[in-house]
């Protein structure tokens, strides 16, 4: 029998995780040949691909800034990524998420190195099981680094939810559907900056603080993992 979504008497969640435990995370970089940089990130069953193209000349010549590169971000869900087929046309949710994901990355990419160009970041959700924007931001951070772009720091993201009165890390779809609150957070721990902060639901000030420290701890681990994966992507040349 499938475990009830919530927290059981042992203090565990429906999939056996502790409240502050993430799903198994997998990160791969350089997964696409054409892109300047790419990454595939999995949070449990959530599977998100990100690719970076550029810096390059924009198709629309007016779309430039004289002092820095423009960042263009598209978050998109594949039609087969959800239980019911998702229409490939961009939804209002996808428009909003593209915006907040762009804003989560703007502060870390050193765009002043490439004035009058555009850097494209494409995030494709291949399988959605909760936390797609978080996995997407994490993948985008890896793809930007994989593209060799100068960055002040790496970014990672995770959501904190509230289920049956308890704060839990990295909510999956089953938990999200019964959750009382969902608080996605992205941060660049090396800069001490929170680059995405949203709350959908009701939380007290104390819960916001506690949830945030839970998320920031996990983000530190995710960024450490990003660094390991990026280092491993380079071949070691014997001296």
């Amino acid at each position: 029998m499938k475990a009830k979504v919530g927290i059981d008497e042992r203090g565990l969640r429906h999939d056996g995780r502790r409240p502050d435990e993430m799903r198994p995370v997998s990160m791969k970089v350089g997964v696409l040949a054409n892109a300047s940089g790419s990454a595939l990130v999995e949070f449990g069953k959530t599977k998100v691909l990100a690719a970076v193209y550029g810096p390059r000349e924009p198709q629309q010549r007016f779309m430039v800034l004289p002092e820095k590169a423009i960042l263009r971000v598209r978050y998109h869900m594949a039609p087969f990524s959800t239980t019911e087929r998702k229409s490939p046309a961009p939804s209002r949710r996808e428009v909003e998420l593209s915006k907040v994901i762009r804003e989560a990355l703007e502060d870390v990419v050193i765009t002043s190195e490439y004035p009058r160009t555009v850097i494209d970041v494409f995030v494709e959700v291949l399988q959605a099981d909760g936390g797609t924007r978080a996995a997407g931001i994490t993948a985008a951070s890896l793809a930007l680094a994989d593209a060799g772009l100068p960055m002040k720091a790496l970014v990672a993201s995770v959501a904190v939810g509230k289920i049956a009165g308890a704060l839990v890390l990295d909510v999956d779809e089953a938990e999200d559907s019964v959750g009382e609150a969902d608080m996605p957070v992205a941060a660049a721990p090396d800069l001490g900056l929170i680059t995405l902060f949203q709350l959908n639901g009701v939380l007290t000030e104390e819960e916001v603080q506690r949830g945030l420290s839970m998320a920031l701890r996990a983000i530190e681990q995710l960024v450490a993992m990003e660094k390991t994966v990026l280092k491993q992507s380079y071949e070691v040349v014997e001296e």
Binding site: M63, V64, L65, K68, I70, L71, R72, V73, R74, R92, R93, V95, E96, S98, K99, V100, I101, R102, E103, E106, D107, V108, T111, A181, M183, A187, A188, L191, G192, L193, I194, T195, L196, F197, Q198, L199, N200, G201, V202, L203, T204, E205, V208, Q209, L212, L216
Partner: protein
């Protein structure tokens, strides 16, 4: 696709230093303190054809909200609930930076943040919007129309949406033999049941300062804005960081503190608008 804004006016950037030197003395260019919202004015019932309406002035920012209702089928997973939809338009007459066309990411974000904040705290009792369970329910549309953009569209729009909802009437109706519902628009007086009041408070980080209720120029020179939604008990019922800059944890803590104070000012004005004016 979301693109780094590349057509923002340059004047605010040139005035940045003068803004910062004012903040250092704790004031703004219009004389208010860095922690005070601008003068708020709410007029309700400004339109006859809409079931509910409100015009909000927040300084020079003006937002009109109209509530229209229609009869619809409920969603399959909530047969005993009406439907609430929030939509926002940045009308081109409101600002030189607005273009005609379908809502852009800013208008969509505005509508979605307001929608979520109302929904999560169950501000509108959707259960009271049922005509025939599983078959006919009220669909309540809240259309936010930005008329003049001088910054802080979130707070002005939330006030307008709340005030319009609190003063909206559901029209009388007749159930025809065919089962159809025939509305008598303009007749009736059953109010939409609004159980909770919600306000948002927007703060902006400019230089090293957290300022409440930024005007348009202050928004342009800000690193980011933080929109916090509160219910009457001052619980946090929604949040959104908007803008490209990163936020420090201490800044969030400070923003929560100052936003709670501003929320109480908004609640007072909203309370006065309840029940018409």
């Amino acid at each position: 696709m979301s693109v780094t804004p590349f057509r923002l006016p340059v004047i605010p950037a040139l005035k940045r230093q003068s803004y910062l030197s004012l903040y250092k003395r704790g004031v703004r260019d219009d004389g208010r303190s860095i922690r005070s919202p601008r003068q708020v004015e709410i007029k309700v019932g400004v339109l006859d054809k809409a079931e509910g309406s409100a015009l909000v002035k927040l300084g020079n920012t003006q937002v009109l909200a109209g509530v229209k209702v229609e009869v619809t089928s409920p969603f399959k997973d909530s047969p005993n609930q009406g439907v609430l939809v929030v939509h926002a338009e940045n009308v081109p007459l409101a600002s030189p930076i607005f273009e005609p066309g379908p809502p852009d990411e800013n208008a969509i974000e505005l509508a979605r943040v307001i929608d979520r904040s109302l929904r999560e705290v169950k501000a509108v009792d959707l259960g009271s919007l049922v005509i025939r369970p599983g078959e006919k329910v009220w669909n309540v549309w809240v259309d936010i129309y930005v008329l003049d953009h001088d910054g802080n569209l979130f707070d002005a729009s939330m006030l307008a949406a709340m005030a319009a909802l609190m003063n909206a009437d559901l029209p009388d109706y007749e159930e025809l033999e065919t089962g159809e519902i025939s509305l008598r628009r303009g007749v009736g007086g059953r109010k939409i049941k609004v159980d909770h009041m919600v306000v948002t408070v927007t703060t902006a980080k400019v230089g090293s300062y957290i300022i409440v209720d930024p005007n348009f120029e202050e928004e342009v020179i800000s690193d980011y804005r933080l929109v916090l939604a509160f219910d009457e008990k001052l619980r946090i019922v929604g949040a959104q960081k908007t803008g490209s800059g990163g936020m420090k944890l201490e800044e969030l803590q400070e923003a929560i503190k100052v936003s709670k104070e501003a929320a109480q000012i908004y609640f007072k004005v909203l309370e006065q608008a309840r029940g018409g004016s």
